[in-house]
């Protein structure tokens, strides 16, 4: 019985240890330009959105997967949960466009 409890603890550790390999990727918005315009990432990676403009921006997925609000000179993070190629844009300035390629 004691052994059984220990092994279930070990199991918990094993599952939480997986995201340790996840990366943090920076995407910057400056002078109304998103860079890099195309980013390749994996499910579990964190995107750090950095807005260097004095204007508010958003990172809004065309397919509805995410909609991140970025006030002037602020940053935000989001963790990627779903694989796929996602085109996103800024709702306030729809001419700001970029692509996120998320591998499983």
């Amino acid at each position: 019985m004691r052994l059984g409890r220990l092994s279930s603890i070990a199991l918990v550790f094993a599952t939480t240890a997986v995201p340790a390999h996840a990366a943090t990727i920076e995407i910057t918005m400056q002078n109304l330009v998103i860079s890099p315009a195309e980013v390749t990432a994996k499910v579990g990676d964190t995107i750090q959105w950095i807005n260097k403009d004095v204007f508010a921006h958003t990172a809004t997925a065309k397919n509805g997967d995410f909609d991140v609000n970025l006030p002037p000179n602020k940053s935000a993070t989001s963790v990627l949960k779903k694989a796929g190629t996602v085109d996103y844009y800024c709702r306030y300035h729809p001419n700001m466009k970029a692509t996120l390629k998320i591998a499983p």
């Binding site: 004095v54 204007f55 508010a56 300035h93």
Partner: protein, 177 residues
């Protein structure tokens, strides 16, 4: 060559806006203090339009759009003021600025007579047209004429912002139909 180019420019501006032609005729090449005044005036015009829309608009997308315009144009103009202060430039009133202001106050009066959905539609349609005109002027007249590199760069950022607004306004207009 120069004459032919400015004649072509005047013709192009004539098509997009009768107002900006007067400025082009008054001086073939605008000075930086004049350009700063025109750009700032163009921002103030859209801020006033947004304030009117905040009071009168009914549709929630139109209200949100007006709020976006107010926020962005105030931010641009704040940068413009900081830049002219840094460069020690005094913005200089000119025929283009005057004509723009006159046209804008006529438009404000015209929109003031409308209410509800009719106002929403007319405001957004004017926002599309107005940003188109300003973007045309920035591209063909203001940016090429600007001498100071920092002023040119701010105008280029302004152009990207206003192109974004034009697309945003077109999107809102399409939703209203």
């Amino acid at each position: 060559m120069f004459v032919r180019r400015s004649a072509a420019l005047a013709a192009a501006i004539l098509l997009s806006s009768p107002v900006l032609l007067q400025g082009a005729r008054a001086a073939d090449k605008l000075t930086d203090p004049q350009i700063a005044h025109i750009a700032y005036t163009a921002g103030v015009i859209d801020i006033n339009a947004a304030k009117q829309a905040q009071k009168k608009a009914k549709n929630k997308d139109v209200k949100a759009f007006a709020e976006d315009m107010l926020r962005d144009h105030e931010a641009v103009n704040k940068q413009a003021l900081a830049l002219v202060k840094k460069l020690n430039v005094t913005p200089e009133d000119n025929d283009t600025s005057k004509a723009l202001s006159k046209q804008a106050s006529d438009k404000l009066a015209e929109l003031d007579k409308l209410n509800g959905a009719a106002f929403d539609k007319a405001y957004v349609a004017n926002e599309v047209a107005y940003h188109k005109t300003v973007n045309g002027a920035l591209e063909t007249q203001l940016i090429p004429s600007a001498s100071n590199a920092e002023l040119k760069s701010l105008l280029q950022t302004g152009l990207k912002i206003f192109q974004g607004h034009e697309q945003h306004a077109e999107h809102v207009a399409a939703e209203l139909k």
